[in-house]
Chain length 131, copies 4
């Protein structure tokens, strides 16, 4: 499947004094979404890195619709945008406990050789497992 | 002036195991940039909130060009995009210790009444101080 | 029961450039441990706060034995130290994926009235549910 | 001198919904305190790590006296407890904008060889610079 859903609970530390989740923390929520999507396909991001491939984020965009609250269970829906080459792009939708849309987001990550820091193609063993 | 520069040093906690600054932490750097820009104009974000106006981020976009490292002194250049009405928009450039461009970014924030959570106009006393 | 176990997976954002979990993040792990312990007893920390009781941490102590790594599933074992009066004290043990002891910890939290910020006794409805 | 003071301003991201600084963030404040103390003596923690020595925290203790607030300028007073051998121990006092004591703290860090992860002595060039 081209999308995957992952849920987690908001930590107290993730709130700010507005009484909502600090907006910058959403970057971590997206990270969990794509890592769990990869895991569901049988790809371990951790192993990929141990094999010499790093995947830094080069573009991050988030549009916040409704505020998330402490102790809410949030669901991240992660969608692969297209077949990756030297970059991999995801769209995301974040939902609150009542199914309300909290935010939409997009990230682009680049495959890099860990030693040289140079762009490389998406590893074949990852490509094979992608939907 | 329509732009403002603020510098700070990267904390160890802000790095990740790639040996660079975790990309999600940039949201905090932008926050410091715009708060210090406001302060330089004589506007305290803290006071604004105490006076019943909150300013949540509704759009965040970051394009990462080069990685930032532990202990680097980073400079955030914050630029007001246009005169605010019910929203306020900023562009940012982040520079590393050698003046290299690390990232560009954009945020849109909405003025809200703290009690009702409803959109309001940028307070007059803030408008008066804006360039 | 006087103890409770809660497991979660280490996020990439939680690592630092030493390649291990940044030590300061353990405070959040302990927070999750005690909140889930309360939930297992039928006490919602969120509701308690909505009912006017806050519970700030006044003492935190952590002894780190082994480093935790990215993607590890960590288990927090939370133990109530004694029946709470105006304070509540917990001991913790954190375990790695192979059952190895990562850290031991202790926190003391104070029951405060949210409005006056003054010490109060542990609410009766919480006391009734405690083991 | 055996102590050093470093000041910084609380970020919005560092608050939680109690309206105060999240207690776990103090670990970062202590980290800044000891790193700036080292820098004031001519020791760069960054260089030390590049030279193969890492310095993980093995003990952390914080006693919170008063809450810190958003936008407050906080001063960390860092004191070397004794001449380091294979470990280095610091005491800290954190002060708020009116000089009020916010917290006291203590950390113990261990000198480790970055490659072998084994305990080593405090490097000689660091020892020479210590008070």
């Amino acid at each position: 499947m081209k999308f995957h859903e992952f849920s987690f609970r908001v930590r107290y530390a993730e709130t700010d004094q507005m009484g909502m989740v600090y907006h910058g923390n959403y970057a971590q929520f997206l990270e969990m979404g794509r890592v769990e999507w990869l895991r569901s396909l049988g790809v371990s991001y951790k192993s990929m890195e141990e094999n010499g491939v790093i995947l830094p984020v080069i573009h991050l965009q988030i549009d916040y619709k409704k505020s998330a609250r402490y102790d809410d269970v949030i669901t991240v829906k992660t969608m692969l945008k297209k077949r990756p080459l030297v970059k991999i792009e995801f769209d995301y939708e974040l939902y609150g406990p009542k199914g309300e849309l909290l935010a939409t987001a997009n990230t682009v990550l680049a495959f890099l050789d860990k030693e040289t820091n140079r762009p490389i193609k998406c590893p074949d063993d990852v490509l094979e497992k992608l939907p």
